[in-house]
C-alpha cells in the first residue's frame, strides 16, 4: 500500500516547526505504524539526512513511551490503542496521514515528535506514593482487601503515564492521569493513611506544572490506552473535598 505522510519536524523547543511530506510505497498492512517510521528513517539515514526523532521503546503498549497524534487523534485512529500497537491495516491505501507530537504547554518539544513529559514525573514526586520504606512492611496477608476493591484499584493503577489524555484534552489537563494515581492509592487500605496530603500535593503540583483544569469533557477517557475511567476524576474531586473537610489545620 501507499501512504503520504505529513510529519512535524522541529529542531528544538525554541525553534519553529513545520510539516514535511514523505511519500511511502510498498507498505504492508501487517506493518506496525512505528515500523513504517523505521523504514522511512532508514531511507533518510542512507541519504545522509537527519532522521525523524520519535519516542518508542517496548512496542507492546505497556511502557507508555510512544506518543504521536495521528490525523488529530492521540495514539491514532483505534480507540484505546497505543501508537506502537497501531498497524497499517487501520488505514486505507492512498491515505494522507498528519503526524504530530503530543501538544501541550507542559510537554515541550525536544525534537520532531519527541516531547518532554517530566511534568508528569513531578506530579508523582509530589505525593503519588505510599511512604513505606523497604523493610517496614507487615505480613502481606495481614490486611485482607476485598477482591473487587483490589480489582478496582488495579483498573486505576493500570495507567501507563503516556500523556495521551493531556494531548487530547482541550485544556491540556492531566486530570485523568492524576486521578488514576489518587484513586489507585485511595482505594487500598495501605494508601489511605496519606490520602489527604497526597491529593492536595498532587493537585497543586498538577497546576504548578502548567496543566489546565478539567471541564469534564471526557475526551481523555476516549483515548486512554488502558481505559482508565472518567469516574476516577470524580473520585479525585471527592478526595480533594474530603481532604479539605478533614484538614488537620
Amino acid at each position: 500500500m501507499k501512504l503520504t505522510l505529513k510529519i512535524w519536524r522541529q529542531e528544538n523547543a525554541k525553534t519553529k516547526g513545520k510539516m514535511v511530506t514523505y511519500e511511502m510505497s510498498d507498505l504492508s498492512q501487517d506493518m506496525s505504524f512505528l515500523e513504517m517510521l523505521d523504514v522511512l528513517n532508514q531511507s533518510l539515514a542512507i541519504k545522509g539526512e537527519r532522521v525523524i526523532e520519535f519516542d518508542h521503546d517496548c512496542r507492546e503498549g505497556i511502557c507508555g513511551q510512544c506518543s504521536l497524534v495521528i490525523n488529530g487523534q492521540a495514539h491514532g485512529p483505534e480507540s484505546h490503542y497505543t501508537t506502537c500497537q497501531t498497524h497499517l491495516r487501520s488505514f486505507k491505501d492512498g491515505d494522507t496521514l498528519y503526524i504530530e507530537p503530543f501538544r501541550a504547554n507542559s510537554f515541550p518539544v525536544i525534537r520532531d515528535l519527541k516531547v518532554d513529559r517530566s511534568s508528569m514525573d513531578k506530579i508523582i514526586q509530589a505525593g503519588g506514593y505510599i511512604s513505606s520504606f523497604t523493610g517496614m512492611a507487615p505480613e502481606a496477608n495481614a490486611i485482607p482487601i476485598h477482591h473487587d476493591i483490589a480489582e478496582s484499584a488495579f483498573d486505576s493503577a493500570a495507567c501507563i503515564g503516556c500523556g495521551a489524555c493531556v494531548a487530547t484534552c482541550k485544556n491540556s489537563s492531566a486530570a485523568l492521569f492524576v486521578s488514576a494515581k489518587i484513586s489507585h492509592l485511595a482505594k487500598l487500605p495501605q494508601g489511605k493513611v496519606e490520602r489527604e496530603e497526597r491529593v492536595q500535593w498532587m493537585i497543586n503540583a498538577h497546576d504548578e506544572e502548567g496543566f489546565g483544569s478539567c471541564t469534564n469533557t471526557g475526551a481523555c477517557a476516549m483515548v486512554c490506552p488502558q481505559e482508565v475511567q472518567l469516574i476516577d476524576i470524580t473520585r479525585m474531586n471527592f478526595e480533594y473535598n474530603r481532604a479539605l473537610c478533614h484538614s488537620k489545620e
Binding site: 512496542r59 507492546e60 517530566s118 496477608n141
Partner: protein, 637 residues
C-alpha cells in the same frame, strides 16, 4: 584474578543470616558522605536506588528512558514467585530453591538461589505495602497461580501486568526519595563507559541523549541494573532500546562476563509476520495454565484450527511430558516447538508458529473466568493480530527473551571490578542455564531492595575516609576522550547500510546458530560471520545527523557496535561448553530421545570470561558445588 564467590560459612539455610550478622555496615551519619551511581531505573536498579536513598546515601540514578516508569521491567506480565505457601500445597523455601536449581539444570550457584527463595517472602510483603494491587480471592487474601517447571502455586500476579505494577511501586518509591532529595535522577542519559581509578569503579561517562553532551559522574560505588541483552537477536521480546552496552563497556574494563551464551528463548511470543518486523510481543507464560499447545498431525494441514478434530491434533507437550504437560519449563517448551516446526508441522502463513488453544478451558471455566485471568493479554493479542483468541487459538512462536548470563558477581553482587555491583538480569548467578517463569521479577526486586543494600555497605564501610571523588583526573579524561572518539568515528563513516539492517542480519546469524539449538560447525560459522559483519559495520554503517542533540541512529549504532562484540563472545562460550544444559542445547550432546545431555564431570562450572585485548578471552571457571542437592537428570516426563 582468581574467582572468589565469597560464599558465607555455615549450612545453606543459615548462610544469608550468617552474612548479615557479620557484614560491615555504615554509620547513618557517614552514609550522606557516600555517593552511589545506579545505572538503570527498572526493578533492580530502581529498587536499589530507592532503598539506598532511603538509607541516606547520596544516590544518582541514570536511565535512557524519559521516565524510570518505562524501564523494561514494565513489560513482564505473568507474575512474581514467593514461597509463602498460602495455598497449603506443600511449598516452602527449600522447595522453591530446589525447583529453581533444577529449573536451571544444576548450573546456578546454590547459595544465591537459596537466598533468593528465602527473601522472596519479604518481597511480597514489601510490594503489598507499596500498594501493588495483586490479584485476590473473594476472602480478600492474596491469590496465586502456577508457572512452568513447578508443581505448586506460588506465583503472585496483578492480572497480566505484574511487572508494570511492581515497577510502579518501585518508581513511586524512587519519586518519594527524589522529593526528599537523597536521589537525583538523570533521565535520557546513556552510559558509554565506566571509569576505574586505582583498580576501583569510581564513576561513569554518560551521554545526555537530549543535548548530546558527554558528562563525567563520580561516586564511591557504581551499581548496574542494566538488564539483559536479548535484543542482540534484533527480533526479541525486549524493548527496542534495551541494550548490553554498559555491561560490555564494564567487561572491557575488567568485569568478567559469565555464561554469556545462555539466552532464554521464550516459547509463547507472537510469530514473525514479515521482514519489516521490529519486535516479537510476548504472551505470558501464565497462559499455559489454561491454554493447550498443539499442532496438526498432518504436515500440510489446510483446515482452519476450529475444523481440525481432536484426533488430528498433536498436543505434543502433553504427549512428550505427561507429568508437567503444557507447564514444562521454557527451554523444553521452545525446543519442542522448534522440533515440531522443523518437522513441517508449523502453522500460519510462514509455518513458524504453533497453536495455543483455550477451547477446553473456556468450556470448563466459562469465558468470564478466562477474561478475568488473561483479559488484557487477549486484548493485546487482538490489537496486534486482529484475531479474537476467545474464538480461535492463538498462534505463538519461540522468541529471544532473557539473558541468564551476565556480569559475573560474587555473593555480595560485586563484579570482578571492586566497587562495581550488578543486580537483576545484568548479573548471572541465580537462574543457571534456564530461568523459571516469574523468577525474573523476583530476582530483580530482591537484588535491588533487599540484597544489595545489605552487601554494598560491606564495601562502602571502607570508603568513609575516601572523601569526595573527583572527576578531574586522568582516568576520567581518558575515558571521556575514548567515548568522544567513538562517537566521531561512527558519524564519519557515512556508509550506505542502515543500523537496523545490520542488526537484523546479526539477529539472523544468532537465531540460526546461537539460539535454541547449537552445534560446533554452526558456532564456528557464526563466529566468522559475526567478524565479517563487524568489519562491514565499521566500514559502511549509515549514521546521519550530528552529535549535538537527539540522534536516535547514533544511539542505535553505538549499541550495535557493542552487540557485534557480545555476539562473538556468546558463540565462543557456546562452543566451549561441550554439553547440553538448560537453554544451551548442543545437538552433538543429546540423548536418543532428543533430550539435553549434561556433562557434570567436565562442565559443572560457570564460565567467567575475561576480556583480553583484541578479540580474545581468557576463561575462568567457577566450580559449582552442590551441598544440599544432588544433581540429577532433569526430567519433566
Amino acid at each position: 584474578m582468581a574467582l572468589n564467590a565469597k560464599i558465607p560459612e555455615g549450612p545453606l539455610k543459615d548462610k544469608w543470616q550468617n552474612y548479615l550478622a557479620k557484614t560491615h555496615i555504615v554509620n547513618p551519619a557517614n552514609r550522606k558522605k557516600l555517593d552511589i551511581i545506579v545505572v538503570g531505573g527498572g526493578l533492580s536498579g530502581g529498587g536499589a536506588a530507592a532503598s539506598l536513598a532511603e538509607l541516606g546515601y547520596n544516590v544518582k540514578v541514570f536511565f535512557f528512558q524519559d521516565s524510570a516508569r518505562r524501564s523494561h521491567s514494565v513489560a513482564a506480565q505473568g507474575g512474581v514467585n514467593a514461597a509463602k505457601n498460602y495455598k497449603n500445597d506443600g511449598d516452602n523455601v527449600y522447595r522453591m530453591f530446589y525447583d529453581t536449581i533444577k529449573g536451571g539444570d544444576f548450573r546456578s550457584r546454590e547459595a544465591n538461589v537459596y537466598r533468593m527463595s528465602e527473601v522472596s517472602v519479604d518481597l511480597i510483603d514489601h510490594m503489598v505495602a507499596q500498594g501493588v494491587p495483586f490479584g485476590r480471592e473473594y476472602s480478600g487474601y492474596l491469590s496465586n497461580r502456577s508457572f512452568g517447571g513447578v508443581l505448586v502455586s506460588r506465583t503472585f500476579y496483578a492480572r497480566g501486568q505484574t511487572g508494570q505494577q511492581l515497577l510502579m511501586a518501585t518508581y513511586q518509591a524512587m519519586m518519594k526519595q527524589v522529593k526528599v532529595g537523597t536521589l537525583k535522577q538523570y533521565k535520557r542519559h546513556e552510559i558509554l563507559d565506566i571509569v576505574i581509578v586505582n583498580g576501583k569503579a569510581r564513576g561513569i561517562i554518560a551521554r545526555d541523549l537530549d543535548t548530546g553532551k558527554i558528562e563525567r559522574h563520580a561516586a564511591h560505588a557504581v551499581v548496574f541494573g542494566t538488564g539483559g541483552f536479548g535484543k542482540i537477536f534484533y527480533l526479541s521480546t525486549l524493548a527496542m532500546n534495551s541494550n548490553g552496552s554498559a555491561n560490555w563497556r564494564a567487561h572491557k574494563k575488567g568485569a568478567y562476563f559469565a555464561n554469556p551464551s545462555w539466552t532464554q528463548i521464550h516459547p509463547t511470543a507472537l510469530p514473525q509476520a514479515g521482514e519489516h518486523q521490529s519486535k516479537l510481543t510476548l504472551m505470558s507464560e501464565s497462559l499455559r495454565n489454561d491454554g493447550r499447545i498443539w499442532v496438526p498431525k498432518k504436515k500440510d494441514e489446510t483446515r482452519a484450527p476450529g475444523d481440525i478434530p481432536d484426533e488430528d491434533r498433536d498436543y505434543y507437550l502433553e504427549r512428550r511430558y505427561p507429568a508437567f504437560g503444557n507447564l514444562v519449563p521454557r527451554d523444553v517448551a521452545s525446543r519442542a516447538a522448534k522440533e515440531r516446526m522443523d518437522a513441517g508441522h508449523g502453522v500460519g502463513p510462514l509455518k513458524n508458529a504453533v497453536y495455543l488453544d483455550f477451547k477446553t478451558a473456556i468450556e470448563k471455566l466459562g469465558v468470564d473466568t478466562i477474561r478475568e485471568r488473561y483479559g488484557n493479554l487477549f486484548t493485546m493479542y487482538e490489537k496486534i493480530t486482529a484475531i479474537n483468541a476467545y474464538k480461535e487459538p492463538m498462534k505463538i512462536s519461540p522468541a529471544a527473551h532473557f539473558s541468564m548470563g551476565g556480569l559475573w558477581v560474587d555473593y555480595e553482587l560485586q563484579t570482578s571490578i571492586p566497587g562495581l555491583f550488578a543486580v537483576g538480569e545484568a548479573n548471572f548467578a541465580d537462574h543457571g542455564a534456564n530461568r523459571l517463569g516469574a523468577n525474573s521479577l523476583l530476582q530483580a526486586s530482591v537484588d535491588g531492595n533487599f540484597i544489595l543494600p545489605n552487601t554494598i555497605s560491606n564495601y562502602l564501610s571502607n570508603e568513609i575516609r575516601a572523601g569526595k571523588i573527583s572527576t578531574d583526573t586522568p582516568e576520567f579524561e581518558e575515558a571521556e576522550k575514548a567515548v568522544k572518539e567513538q562517537v566521531e568515528k561512527l558519524l564519519a563513516i557515512k556508509g550506505t547500510m542502515p543500523v537496523d539492517k545490520i542488526h537484523r542480519r546479526l539477529g539472523k546469524i544468532m537465531f540460526k546458530e546461537v539460539a535454541m539449538s547449537r552445534n560446533e560447525k554452526g558456532l564456528k560459522w557464526a563466529i566468522e560471520e559475526i567478524k565479517k559483519l563487524r568489519k562491514e559495520f565499521w566500514e559502511n554503517v549509515a549514521v546521519s545527523g550530528d552529535q549535538n542533540g537527539p540522534n536516535s541512529e547514533l544511539e542505535k549504532a553505538g549499541r550495535l557496535a557493542d552487540y557485534l562484540e557480545i555476539a562473538e563472545l556468546m558463540a565462543v562460550d557456546a562452543l566451549n561448553r561441550k554439553e547440553s544444559c538448560g537453554a544451551h542445547f548442543r545437538e552433538d550432546f543429546q540423548t536418543e530421545d532428543g533430550e539435553a545431555m549434561r556433562d557434570d564431570k567436565n562442565f559443572m562450572y560457570s564460565s567467567a570470561w575475561e576480556w583480553e585485548n583484541g578479540d580474545n578471552w581468557k576463561l575462568h571457571k567457577e566450580p559449582l558445588e552442590f551441598t544440599e542437592v544432588k544433581p540429577t537428570v532433569r526430567s519433566y516426563k
